[in-house]
């Protein structure tokens, strides 16, 4: 590989940071320039993610993770970025959501408040960093970056509902960050390291009398991630926050709960996998039963939701629950299926959040969605209505396009055949039943709940769909501009591609799951990385 390619691993962090800082130099009158800057950045991030995906998955090679040493400091002392197949997959998912959400926001939402582009890019930087880093404290820093950006984005568009939900969101996440710190320092005091690979090497050596401290620290740390992922009973903030956020922001937030899941998956396989000796699998039961409770709560929430945004929020909880419970069963056959479900459900929920707003436009949801006056006037000039014309033209036969998209989303979310949602749920159930002979009662409960939650989603979506789209009202004709339709179309087309190419995607994800399960590969790649001049070690 050539010189610049060695530094590709840090590009998903540096690029949005630099561009975000650059957009701050221009005030809101140069909006067009800012739009182009951030649009080009999300496009570039997409290209970088694809390049990283290809770099970590060469044909026919047992690829070690790509390790990038910041400042060329050796691994346990310096911070490393690690790109393996799973990180590359999550990066790609993030950049797809970033691209489509920003695209959608260009139609009108980026004008709803100041500094949208800077915050949005910082959010991307934080999420990418969390997927890349190989150091727990560095993970904390990236979590704070993404949270700080998300605090600003929740308030984007202003208004009483957003201020109320935002206050709860910030308070809960600040408290959670403190739990994160307590967990990190407990783990450090027992093992003396914060590098994930070094931790994986040291956890099996922890003496018995310190094991309780280590597990306590890991449990507190895990609680922090479970709050982000939204496990019951830590999830009550999630539906109302996502419902209050502006649609493109909510569409982007659908990756945030997956960050929590990703970190839990990464740390449990690395630190508490089969090689961890006494500490192995200590949290699995919590995840299984917590996940079951989350699915149940999410299902009840979906059935009782009065508005589509709340329905989507509760669906996010269901998907969190299914992922946690499936991973908590500790069956290796189910990890790949769960990852496939993660990809499919994230894309579908994101598309759903985008499609909700044009459907509900002019309806009762307007009170929540409407853009209020800015609280702080500073240099921000011009709210939505007085600005330039909408980009693009309104599509004729909007109702057909929206209705079709809605049905598509409903099928995807509820997991009905033939779309990717069905394939994902089917492979999860298949993986659960495949294991070694006996199937415990908890797994049967999980399978029942997966099917029931799908049924509840169908019921709720049908009810909402008939109510909003097919019942004649005296509401004005629905309007959908082409800029809003394209990102929704991209997301739904990707879900379609997931269905058509399910075999190829599943094979990739199975390779990713195998690399993930091989903690020794990760550890040796990070700790034995030879110091290159460029600092990067390529497989």
């Amino acid at each position: 590989m050539s010189g610049w390619a060695a530094h590709l691993a840090i590009a998903p962090i540096l690029l949005p940071l630099v561009v975000s800082a650059a957009t701050l130099l221009f005030d809101e009158r140069r909006r067009k320039l800012k739009r182009w800057m951030s649009f080009a950045t999300t496009g570039a991030l997409l290209a970088i993610a694809i390049a990283l995906l290809r770099a970590t998955d060469p044909y026919g090679v047992a690829a070690a993770p790509l390790v990038y040493r910041l400042g060329d400091w050796a691994a346990p002392f310096g911070i490393v970025l690690v790109v393996d197949r799973l990180s590359a997959l999550m990066l790609l998912l993030t950049s797809i959501l970033g691209f489509t959400s920003l695209f959608y926001a260009l139609a009108r939402w980026d004008r709803a408040g100041p500094r949208f582009h800077a915050l949005f890019l910082l959010l991307l930087m934080g999420v990418n960093g969390a997927f890349l880093t190989g150091d727990i404290f560095n993970l904390f820093v990236f979590f704070e970056v993404l949270l700080a950006a998300s605090y600003g984005l929740v308030l984007h568009g202003s208004g009483t509902t957003r201020a109320k939900a935002g206050l709860h969101y910030v308070a809960i996440n600040v408290a959670t960050s403190l739990l994160f710190l307590i967990g990190v320092s407990l783990i450090y005091s027992v093992t003396g390291t914060l590098n994930m690979a070094d931790l994986a090497a040291r956890v099996p050596l922890v003496p018995r009398e310190d094991l309780m401290l280590l597990e306590g620290g890991a449990a507190i740390l895990g609680t922090a991630f479970l709050v982000k992922a939204g496990m019951w009973p830590l999830c009550f903030w999630l539906p109302s926050t996502y419902a209050a956020a502006a649609p493109p922001v909510a569409a982007m937030f659908s990756i945030l709960s997956k960050v929590g899941i990703y970190v839990i998956l990464r740390l449990t396989t690395l630190l508490f996998g089969d090689g961890a000796g006494r500490a192995a699998d200590f949290a699995d039961e919590w995840m299984l039963f917590g996940g079951l409770a989350t699915i149940l709560y999410g299902t009840l929430g979906v059935l009782s939701s009065q508005t589509l945004v709340r329905l989507a929020g509760h669906y996010v909880l269901i998907s969190t629950g299914i992922l946690l419970a499936a991973l908590g069963t500790g069956r290796p056959t189910v990890v790949a299926a769960a990852l496939f479900y993660l990809v499919s459900s994230t894309l579908a929920v994101s598309a759903f959040y985008l499609i909700i707003e044009p459907i509900g436009r002019g309806g009762e949801d307007e009170a929540v969605q409407a853009i209020a006056e800015p609280v702080f006037e500073d240099e921000y000039i011009g709210a939505l209505e007085e600005e330039e014309d909408e980009i693009g033209i309104a599509i004729p036969a909007t109702i057909a396009v929206l209705g079709g998209g809605f049905i598509f989303c409903a099928l995807l979310l509820s997991g009905l055949p033939p779309l990717s949602g069905f394939i994902a749920k089917f492979t999860i159930i298949d993986g659960l039943l495949k294991g070694d002979g006996s199937v415990p009662a908890a797994v049967w409960a999980l399978i029942t709940l997966i099917i029931l939650s799908g049924l509840a989603t169908v019921v709720a979506m049908t009810r909402a769909g008939i109510d909003l789209i097919w019942t004649p009202t005296e509401r004005p004709q629905l309007q959908l501009s082409i800029v809003e339709a394209i990102p929704i179309g991209i997301l739904l087309a990707l879900c379609l591609a997931l269905m058509v190419q399910a075999g190829a995607v599943m094979e990739y994800i199975e390779r990713a799951a195998r690399t993930l399960g091989d903690a020794a590969l990760y550890t040796s790649a990070v700790l034995d990385a030879p110091g290159a001049n460029g600092g990067a070690v390529l497989p």
Partner: protein, 114 residues
């Protein structure tokens, strides 16, 4: 010294949690600040308590590491302090926004008692 620090962390955490559960936004912010002080002290002692031990090794000579304090928690605490400071400032702004828009300082934006 261990007892004093443990008591300090305990009292800060207890008052922080109590304040965090109060209904007024300002109390919540104070509670979060107390909690973050407690956590900062907690991080500091994860490198073990030492007196008169410098964290930075002098240039040149080979040294006995046991004579030095662990520098890493001290660096972590600095990061944690900065981040906690920034989020507290942000929360204060949220408090003002919420107070301005809803006309009350209740965390839910409405007073149930009235």
């Amino acid at each position: 010294m261990e007892v004093v620090l443990a008591l300090a962390i305990g009292i800060l955490t207890a008052s922080g949690v109590w304040l965090l559960l109060r209904p007024r936004t300002f109390q919540v912010i104070l509670g979060l600040s107390f909690l973050s002080y407690a956590v900062n002290l907690f991080i500091l002692i994860s490198g073990r308590l030492r007196t008169d031990a410098p964290p930075i090794i002098a240039r040149g000579d080979t040294v006995d590491a046991s004579l030095y304090a662990d520098p890493l928690p001290q660096a972590l605490v600095l990061t944690a302090i900065v981040i906690a400071f920034a989020t507290t400032a942000l929360l204060l702004v949220m408090l003002l926004i919420s107070r301005g828009l809803t006309g009350t300082d209740h965390v839910d934006g409405e007073d149930r008692d009235q």
